[in-house]
Symmetry: C2
Subunit: 215 residues, 2 copies
Amino acid sequence: MEEKEISQAVIGRLPRYFRYLGELKDEGVERISSQELSELMKVTASQIRQDFNNFGGFGQQGYGYNVEHLYKEIGRILGLDVIHNFIIIGAGNLGQALGNYLNFERRGFIFRGMFDINPQLVGRDVRGVKVMPMEEMERFVRENDIDIAVLTIPKTSAVEVAERLAANGIRAIWNFAHVDLNVPEGIQVESVHLSDSLMKLSYNISRYKKEKENS
Amino acid sequence: MEEKEISQAVIGRLPRYFRYLGELKDEGVERISSQELSELMKVTASQIRQDFNNFGGFGQQGYGYNVEHLYKEIGRILGLDVIHNFIIIGAGNLGQALGNYLNFERRGFIFRGMFDINPQLVGRDVRGVKVMPMEEMERFVRENDIDIAVLTIPKTSAVEVAERLAANGIRAIWNFAHVDLNVPEGIQVESVHLSDSLMKLSYNISRYKKEKENS
DNA sequence: TAGATTGTTAATCGATTAACAATC
DNA sequence: TAGATTGTTAATCGATTAACAATC
């Protein structure tokens, strides 16, 4: 049974559906039509129905979608029904910020360890997790069923650290370093390039300024 | 003279070109062909040429592109040739991480102020900038030519704060709160939804696991 | 049953890739 | 000049939107 590949365009929209459905659920809304959801989220109803139908029929003609059911299904599709253990490499400001972020825990992402090359940071406590020296990273990954490594280290060391993680069975890397990682096939990489995002914002500021001047 | 609108798909790729060209420049590379760049960046040479040609001819037939010139031009297109003053709302871990991030300064983004509702944080120093109470935000934005506000506050207050910023002449919002902001036309919003990014990673982990099971 | 709304096919739109003439 | 490589047009591919038959 060949499952058709879902495009990354669709995947990229799932977390946003998940967020809106969670809010609707918390407000006690039981059912919603693609039309209503489309007005709320400012996307077309057509797109919503197409997106959901990639994964099978979650709705019911004449009724719409059951909010709670749809919410759970999308959570499952996103893999939020399983526990993911993660570690953070780099105990600087950003690493600590992510370690302290409680919402990840709610989604099944459990903060298991933190590593840094700086001996000054080793031993520090971040939400109950002690910062360990980098030399212990490989062993820790192997022995503690770590799925995800969060890289909040400079780009100069990110490539080498990613290789070490890959060699020790990491499943995924959430990369905050400003470099493109090349890891073996089968290891998932999701990069958050903050400065790229800021540059896009900068572009849009300039563009709007020019538009105004020309009008 | 009507300038054609550049698609966000193209804009989204510019920072990455900028990064690679910067590295090539630092390595002393003078010229590069779309073919060579395509191998380096793992995109098609066709796309590279199409992308650059949205902004005019930066290359030369039979020669390729001058690295330094192209780098500068892309920087200019991205608006990195002008100074942008920014403030950070929310002096928690993430706010402090972004305030301490020196690379933004190098690109013309100058850290001017930081605000928090928590009186315990007010007065604290982040890279030479004192945390101010929220009540001073509006006046500060008006009087200090602030272009960008970085929102590292909970979603519950983000919408209201965004409105206050909009009313006081902010040009752009870099939003880290997990909520979609609706601001008046002309104010640019770029959102970084960290948990959305993590969920995409989670999806890809699950998908790969299923693929392996099916093979 | 009649009305509503999905699931799904078809049409459109936009983005990517291929091809090649222009030109350095 | 000959070779290389761009700039640009044309072809393809994929994603979005529209339309409507199926069905609850």
